[in-house]
């Protein structure tokens, strides 16, 4: 497998944000994405914001991996999403998975929301 999935994290008092540095989460990287997300969120604040600003393409494998991360975090932690690009937003909407995630327009909005919670 030649494709590498890179994540960049930033921890604030109440929230950890994870930016996906790749332009796609697809069948070639979904498993790697899920494992790296599990690693970077293992400790830290209860609220996790996944910043998808750079992700231009998400297929159903990538969507499944994001759902899997939400399940891994368990009922006491939250996975929220920020900065969905148009095609990614469409995948969430068409599968109705937009109803199980809190989706923020930007990372700043997500962090402000977490700070006020």
């Amino acid at each position: 497998m030649g494709c590498i999935m890179q994540l960049q994290t930033q921890t604030r008092p109440k929230v950890i944000s994870v930016q996906v540095m790749e332009d796609r989460i697809d069948a070639a990287t979904a498993i790697q994405f899920k494992e790296k997300m599990r690693d970077v969120t293992r400790d830290g604040p209860a609220r996790v914001v996944l910043d998808l600003a750079r992700v231009q393409f998400l297929d159903s494998s990538g969507l499944g991996a994001i759902v899997a991360v939400k399940k891994l975090l368990g009922p006491d932690r939250a996975l929220e999403l920020a900065s969905l690009t148009p095609t990614v937003e469409k995948v969430f909407r068409l599968t109705r998975m937009d109803s199980i995630f809190t989706i923020h327009l930007s990372l700043e909005a997500a962090v402000a929301h977490a700070a006020s919670a």
């Binding site: 069948a27 159903s60 494998s61 399940k71 148009p86 095609t87 995948v91 599968t95 109705r96």
Partner: protein
Amino acid sequence: MPPVPEVASRAPELHLVFHADPDSVRRSLTQMLGLPPLSGLSAEDRGISELVLAEVLNNVTEHAYGDGGGKVAVSLIEGPAGIRCLVVDEGRAMPGGQLPADRLPGGPDTALQDLPEGGFGWHLIRSLCADLTYGRQDGQNRLGFVLPRQRTLSSRDGGT
């Protein structure tokens, strides 16, 4: 030099054969999106086309072939209603010889640990393409569909 054939008057087409595995699918999608007829689409239609083709090719990789892998052939031809696509593989036939029913997994009341991590693919394909057909012929799966221009699909997209 032989005379140049009159290709300019013909609709753009692309024919590609590659190995069905996740890395090759990714590379081939990038290649397809950068060449006619897909390269001429709007950004939105290109995104939709890539999604539909990715879901179809992931299905071939994961279900028709499984771990062994095999060849998959994609033909894209510009037509009046959109881009007509044909995807042919030599893997296992669809269960029951037909396409899976359109069923979206999960629902608003699904418990956290029961949330679906898959099963979205056919719903996405059916939502975003037209004239979907499947046939088994000479040991090959033949999946045909049209990638319409977005304005003709907007009413089915659930958009607001």
